[in-house]
């Protein structure tokens, strides 16, 4: 499977996660979100950028509980809770946001 981003065909797995995270660019997230029927707001980008930084540092995609806690630490308590993150990413904050961020599916993700 593949998705088209700015004239390039990028390989994705059967669940839609980017095969090579080095191919990621912001339009990947925009196009994936469009396919899910939504537009990305600044609040979405805040989480997506956070995930990319987390991956850069730790080389994994965080589990949802860990993501929630880490977001709270970085962006404040009003954002570090499941309700806020599920409203932004209704398919599951870790799963959906990681996909948009070009990361693999989180380990231990249910």
């Amino acid at each position: 499977m593949a998705i088209d981003v700015n004239g390039k065909s990028l390989e994705v797995d059967e669940e839609g996660y980017l095969a090579d995270l080095n191919q990621w660019e912001p339009d990947v997230a925009t196009i994936m979100a469009k396919a899910d029927g939504s537009d990305l707001s600044d609040a979405h980008w805040e989480v997506i950028n956070f995930l990319r930084e987390y991956y850069e540092e730790y080389q994994i995609a965080p589990a949802v509980r860990v993501l929630t806690k880490a977001i709270g630490k970085k962006l404040g308590k009003d954002k570090g809770n499941s309700k806020y993150l599920y409203e932004l990413f209704p398919y599951g904050p870790a799963k959906q946001a990681c996909k948009y961020a070009g990361l693999p599916k989180p380990t231990g993700c249910v």
């Binding site: 080389q59 589990a63 499941s82 599920y86 209704p90 599951g92």
Partner: protein, 131 residues
């Protein structure tokens, strides 16, 4: 029916799991697989203890460079364990010393234990997995 964000509390018993890492980080898949299983257990909020002994101490050595062998350096992931509330990391004293290493050489904070203390820790566990 609970909303998804109210479904935080995972049901089921919490068990005491110990993962004993005894092999070098690269050359076999054991170290990486162990780390993956640890992260899964932690995501399910289990009580996780890690032990590094024998060549396993090399898994958490600082400044790993895997470029020449063409595999991913996954050692930064050990630093993520704290965020997963995995904070019980033990290193067997002799394994560290006989390899010319000290705690200063390690990428994460650990407790150094001797073999007798390790035996006591093992007694306390419900599940012990050796990698």
């Amino acid at each position: 029916m609970a909303e998804p964000w109210e479904d935080d509390e995972l049901e089921g018993p919490v068990r005491k799991f110990m993962y004993v890492n005894r092999r070098a980080p690269y050359g076999t898949i054991y170290a990486l697989e162990s780390l993956e299983v640890v992260l899964i257990a932690a995501a399910f909020e289990q009580d996780v203890t890690l032990v590094f002994m024998d060549d396993g101490v090399y898994q958490i050595k600082k400044e790993q460079n895997t470029e020449a062998i063409g595999v991913k350096n996954f050692s930064p992931t050990y630093r993520a364990l704290e965020g997963y509330d995995v904070e019980k990391l033990y290193v067997e004293r002799e394994s560290l010393q006989s390899r010319g290493l000290t705690v200063e050489d390690l990428i994460v904070p650990v407790q150094i234990v001797d073999k007798d203390q390790l035996a006591e820790l093992m007694e306390e566990q419900e599940v012990i997995l050796s990698f």
